[in-house]
């Protein structure tokens, strides 16, 4: 049970970063930290004690395997995470070219 709690604390650290930081790149890093904790939680749920990796050995029919379903979900989520991070980076670099800063509060002031 400790592992689940630590995993959630990692999520909370990412949330804290998103709420309190003002630098756009740090917000992006915190978002990916939250993503990673979700992936870790799903992989933890699928683990079975003493299970093997989900590659079926046809010679040995009584082996226990870990649950392949959360792994398949996380596999697609990781690649989507890369695409969304890249899109976030595109938005951020575009904002930097326009306003010359990463600070969101300064950007708010400049717009008025």
């Amino acid at each position: 049970m400790t592992v689940y709690w630590l995993c959630f604390i990692l999520f909370l650290v990412g949330l804290y970063g998103v709420i309190t930081r003002r630098n756009l790149i740090k917000i992006a890093i915190s978002l990916s930290v939250m993503e990673f904790s979700c992936f870790l939680f799903l992989a933890l749920i699928g683990y079975t004690e003493g299970g093997a990796a989900p590659i079926v050995d046809t010679a040995d029919p009584v082996k226990i395997y870990v649950d392949p379903l959360p792994q398949a979900m996380v596999l697609t989520a990781i690649v989507i995470g890369l695409a969304t991070t890249a899109m976030l980076m595109a938005v951020i670099i575009r904002i930097y070219r326009k306003y010359g800063t990463f600070d969101i509060r300064e950007i708010n002031n400049l717009r008025g």
């Binding site: 949330l15 990781i78 595109a90």
Partner: protein, 175 residues
């Protein structure tokens, strides 16, 4: 097993805290890399080699893109003195985190302990899956046969993200 993963997760938490509080953006990006690469070790310990392969390559390319963006612009953290509004934000964050943690404590009570399989439907995906899909790798079987719709949706999201990046970044249209 639980102890080893706990140690690595504590390491990840420390890396994340440093990444949030670093005064140089480049070191913040690299400290964010600690979290991603530790996740690879966690996946290997949890018997998920597919995830480990994907995560290690994706983390490398994310780092390349982030470092390119940071080197191209400013490396300074624009976070000067701690004024009133910053205190209010930090206090709000702490209250929200406390409430969420209490919620976790309540919600995690019915969860099975670590190492016992929580999901009842896993049996349908493991037993006899080789006869149904013909694939030895169970993850590929789930990905493309049992849950093909998910993969199609994921590919669509990827195409949309690429179109978004092209729309945002191209200044002039093509000739």
């Amino acid at each position: 097993m639980e102890l080893a993963i706990s140690v690595i997760v504590i390491f990840m938490i420390l890396g994340a805290i440093y990444a949030i509080h670093a005064s140089d953006i480049l070191s913040a990006v690299i400290a964010g890399g600690i979290v991603g690469y530790s996740l690879v070790i966690c996946f290997l310990l949890l018997k998920a080699p597919d995830l480990a392969i994907v995560q290690i390559v994706v983390e490398t390319i994310t780092l390349i893109i982030m470092v390119a963006v940071v080197l191209d612009s400013s490396r300074k953290e624009a976070y000067g003195k701690f004024d009133t509004q910053a205190w209010v934000t930090a206090a709000t964050a702490v209250v929200i985190l406390a409430i969420l943690f209490w919620f976790l404590k309540e919600a995690s009570a019915p969860l099975a302990p670590f190492g016992e399989n929580t999901m009842r439907m896993a049996d349908a995906y493991v037993n006899g899956a080789v006869d149904k899909t013909g694939s030895v790798n169970l993850v590929t079987g789930v990905l493309f046969d049992f849950r093909g719709y998910d993969t199609l949706g994921e590919a669509t999201v990827l195409v949309t993200a690429v179109l978004g990046v092209l729309t945002i970044l191209r200044i002039r249209g093509r000739k």
